[in-house]
């Protein structure tokens, strides 16, 4: 009965392997929790609630729009005052110029998200630009990558806060609520081929003073090559919270560059940073 002997022996070997697999830590890799929105049945109250979640969550808006003075504190300001006052500002040249009412506010809010530099609230512009360039990222581009519906939801949330009836359209059934990760940037789908393109693709200059952005949310990276070696630079990009630069806050820098970047892009950026003059 060689057959039986061999099978029993195999079974024992297999049980040893199986047993080992079962004593290791057991973690199930769930797909990322997606905002499962039934777009067909989403009413305006749902839109507003979604907008609030996006504002504090995926949109990363509260990184800047908080009470630290980096940007207008949209959650605390009296939006019913501030927003209409923008439209009558002498410097305002945007789409909602000369209009008023809820519809005009909608246009202004969407414009602020799509083209932040169209109008820069006084005192908040990038240093040295005399309030002509906004430090705010374009939110429907990487890395924030909000979809139209998501921007509408945020608009509804802010309109509501300002005491207006939201005027944004409700999404129709079947419309995908979240932008597909892959169609966020126009030509930006392939890996960036030079450092400047990579830095632009991942929006580093919105926080760091790179390419003349003069942003100061993150530390200056000039002369970083003197302080850190390649590995340390790469690590501070892939795992920013591992070591927090002095005088800056944790959790500000996006944690998922490791997931978005190709190795080639990481290398380009590290190379570029380390050569930055002091």
């Amino acid at each position: 009965m060689t057959f039986a002997r061999v099978m029993i022996f195999s079974l024992f070997v297999l049980l040893a392997f199986t047993g080992f697999a079962n004593i290791l830590p057991q973690v199930q890799g769930d797909p990322p929790a997606e905002e499962e929105i039934n777009t067909g049945s989403l009413d305006m109250a749902g839109m507003i609630a979604l907008g609030e979640r996006l504002f504090t969550g995926k949109g990363t808006c509260t990184l800047c729009h908080n009470n630290l003075g980096r940007a207008p504190d949209l959650l605390m300001d009296d939006l019913s005052q501030t927003l209409p006052s923008r439209l009558v500002d002498a410097r305002y040249e945007g789409v909602a110029k000369g209009k008023n009412g809820a519809g005009a506010i909608e246009e202004y809010l969407l414009e602020s998200m799509r083209e932040p530099s169209k109008f820069v609230v006084a005192g908040y512009g990038k240093k040295g630009t005399n309030d002509t360039v906004s430090p705010m990222p374009v939110v429907n581009k990487a890395p924030v990558s909000l979809s139209d519906i998501e921007m509408n939801a945020i608009t509804a949330f802010l309109q509501n806060k300002a005491g207006f009836d939201p005027t944004v359209p409700l999404p129709s059934a079947g419309e995908a609520p979240a932008a597909d990760a892959s169609d966020d940037g126009d030509e930006e789908d392939g890996p960036a081929t030079d450092a400047v393109a990579a830095i632009e693709k991942f929006g580093c200059s919105t926080c760091h003073d790179l390419e003349g952005s003069e942003a100061d949310l993150g530390p200056k990276l000039n002369g970083i090559g003197k302080r850190m070696d390649d590995a340390a630079i790469a690590k501070s990009i892939l795992d920013p919270n591992a070591q927090i630069a002095e005088g800056f806050e944790a959790d500000l820098m996006p944690q998922d560059f490791g997931e978005q970047m190709r190795v080639s892009e990481l290398n380009l950026i590290v190379d570029y940073l380390k050569k930055l003059p002091e």
Binding site: T2, F3, R5, V6, M7, F9, S10, L11, V13, L14, L15, F17, T18, F20, A21, N22, L24, P25, Q26, V27, Q28, G29, D30, P31, P32, A176, D180, A181, S182, D183, D189, G190, D229, D230, A231, A234, K235, D239, Q255, G258, E259, Q260, M261, R262, V263, S264, L266
Partner: protein, 584 residues
């Protein structure tokens, strides 16, 4: 009648196409500028009462792959063995090559059966994915079916013409058929690999929508295609060797006749040799694959080496260690076949020390890059103990040392039946010892250097290690060839082996099969919640990565079924050769 099997498969495909006209249409639209990849929702996935679609496909696919790997690999070394027989004129080789093919024949129809079931299961359970893949690969799937037919024809001709074309020029003609068979077989595998790797690293399609914009060739030649081709090619040889070894062991255990036993002992030894020879380059093919995965997508690399899957590499280490130990144990037992073996067996305990030590270093977990959620679940990123032993240079050092010492086991057995007669034998031996010592010192120093260099992945240090390992193997083979020329050979008592040693030959296929199952699980899991990575989301209820335990249980069940099938095939082929005596 057997020949008809592939025809059934074609028929089956025809039925599938008839049942799902939209699929046929999808295939027909080839060449047109197409809409993007389908994005089915959860409700769009067909399912059958309470059965897990994924487990069905998983099980059937694995069975098919195990059988196919075996069926594709054996003709490769069968033709090599045949060639050996032709140039040495030793009929034993020819007989063994023929016997290799005999086992393949029994497994072939099963391969086709599982392949057909797999196609059916995929089309029934994942119609959107298959529809999309058909759009991308268009006519290639039909070419595949045709090649399969060709494979069957050549396989049958190759096997059945064996004795008719045994000698002289006819032998060369016979080997040419074998060559055609192997070419077709490899092409089949490469095509199937293209589909699997396309799902991991799609190319030739619009990255935003998945619309087909490139040629079939562009989709085929995706970034991971060649690394996987190489990895599977090498692994198949090792796997085929391991299974044939199990066959020999089975026969050895069942037979009583000493002469027959001697034959199967020799066959087992040769198979073990093939398995290990195929196994040696595997870690390096694995590195290349991993490096390409990182280059393709940082995220995928991190998912593989750092995320929840990192623990799998620890099981992988256990399995590889098991394989090494079993192979070495078998070789050590083999020393009892020769008179001189005794002289060498005193070194066995040292080799064992190194192998076990290397094995322990390899299973030591170290830094695991995890997402915060996973860190929370696991309770920490770094394993609590033995930190530095877990990092790459230490692991590379361990692997290389294990390979060197396994080779030493082979060399010991080979030399145990040969006494060199050349004058410079002493000097030659010293040279070999010096070679080993320098090589090992090199490997250890490169390992230490790897510690202190601050590169992120410390891959650089592994190159001199691999070169050292390879040099030891290649140069000592060359020295041996010259030194043992005209050596006084003592008899090898084939068949003088304990029954226990044969079980080592069963450990190999069991561990290999389980390991292949495990790697398949990792490869599929790398896509995380995507059918086609970054292009087509997996919205089915089973889009999650199962836990290691869950996967382990599934793989065990599949492996056990596979072993049962194979041992049954062995049993059958023994039965087929048994003839009841004519009653007097």
């Amino acid at each position: 009648m057997k020949l008809a099997r592939p025809v059934y498969i074609l028929l089956l495909l025809a039925v599938v196409v008839a049942l799902f006209p939209d699929l046929a249409q999808a295939a027909g639209e080839a060449g047109e500028k197409l809409a993007g990849a389908p994005q089915p929702t959860r409700a769009d996935y067909p399912h059958f009462a309470g059965m897990s679609s994924r487990d069905i496909v998983w099980g059937v696919a694995q069975m098919h792959l195990f059988l196919a790997a075996f069926v594709l690999a054996v003709p490769l070394f069968s033709i090599a063995t045949e060639f050996m027989g032709k140039i040495t004129g030793d009929q034993r080789y020819d007989n063994m090559a023929h016997e290799f093919m005999k086992i393949t024949m029994s497994a072939y129809s099963l391969t086709a059966l599982f392949g057909g079931s797999l196609a059916l299961a995929l089309f029934l359970l994942y119609p959107h994915l298959m529809g999309y893949l058909m759009k991308v690969f268009r006519g290639q799937m039909l070419i595949y079916a045709l090649l399969f037919l060709l494979e069957s024809v050549t396989l049958y001709i190759y096997f059945y013409s064996w004795n008719a074309m045994r000698y002289g020029n006819r032998k060369w003609f016979h080997m040419s058929i074998g060559l055609v068979l192997n070419t077709v077989g490899l092409t089949l595998m490469f095509i199937a690999n293209a589909w699997a790797t396309f799902m991991m690293s799609p190319s030739g399609v619009d990255p935003a929508t998945g619309a087909v914009i490139g040629t079939v060739w562009e989709a085929t030649r995706n970034p991971l295609w060649n690394p996987v081709n190489l990895h599977r090619f090498v692994a198949n040889i090792a796997y085929g060797g391991a299974i044939v070894g199990a066959y020999a062991a089975y026969m050895f255990l069942s037979e009583k006749d000493p002469e027959v036993k001697a034959h199967y002992d020799w066959m087992g030894y040769t198979s073990n040799f093939i398995a290990i020879a195929g196994f040696l380059p595997l870690p390096f093919a694995g590195y290349w694959l991993m490096a390409e995965i990182y280059a393709y997508s940082q995220q995928m690399g991190i998912t593989a080496m750092g995320g929840i899957l990192a623990w799998l590499f620890i099981i992988q280490a256990i399995l590889i260690g098991t394989i090494m130990l079993a192979a070495n144990y078998y070789l050590w037992c083999g020393l009892m076949r020769t008179e001189n073996g005794q002289k060498y067996s005193k070194y066995v305990k040292y080799i064992m020390l190194v192998i076990v030590g290397g094995f322990l270093v390899w299973v030591t977990p170290h830094s695991l890059i995890l997402t915060t959620e996973e860190i929370r679940q696991l309770g920490g990123t770094h394993h609590k103990f033995l930190g530095p032993l877990g990092i790459m240079p230490a692991k590379n050092t361990a692997v290389n040392l294990m390979l060197v010492f396994t080779f030493l086991s082979f060399q010991m057995f080979y030399r145990s039946s040969r006494i060199p007669t050349v004058k410079w034998a002493r000097a030659g031996n010293m040279l070999i010892i010096a070679l080993y010592v320098t090589g090992i010192v090199n490997i250890v120093f490169a390992g230490l250097y790897g510690y202190i260099t601050p590169t992120v992945y410390k891959v650089g240090a592994s190159v001199p290690q691999v070169i050292s390992t390879m040099s030891i193997i290649i140069f000592s083979v060359i020295i041996d060839i010259f030194m043992l020329r005209g050596a006084k050979t003592t008899t090898v008592h084939w068949g003088r082996m304990s029954d226990r040693s044969q079980y080592a030959l069963f450990v190999l296929p069991v561990a290999f099969t389980w390991l292949m199952g495990l790697m398949g699980y990792i490869r599929s899991s790398l896509r995380t919640h995507w059918h086609v990575y970054t292009i087509m989301k997996d919205k089915s209820p089973e889009a999650y990565i199962p836990t290691i335990g869950e996967a382990g249980n599934t793989i065990t069940i599949i492996t056990l079924s596979f072993m049962a099938v194979m041992v049954f095939v062995f049993w059958l082929s023994r039965l087929g050769a048994t003839r009841q005596e004519t009653p007097s």
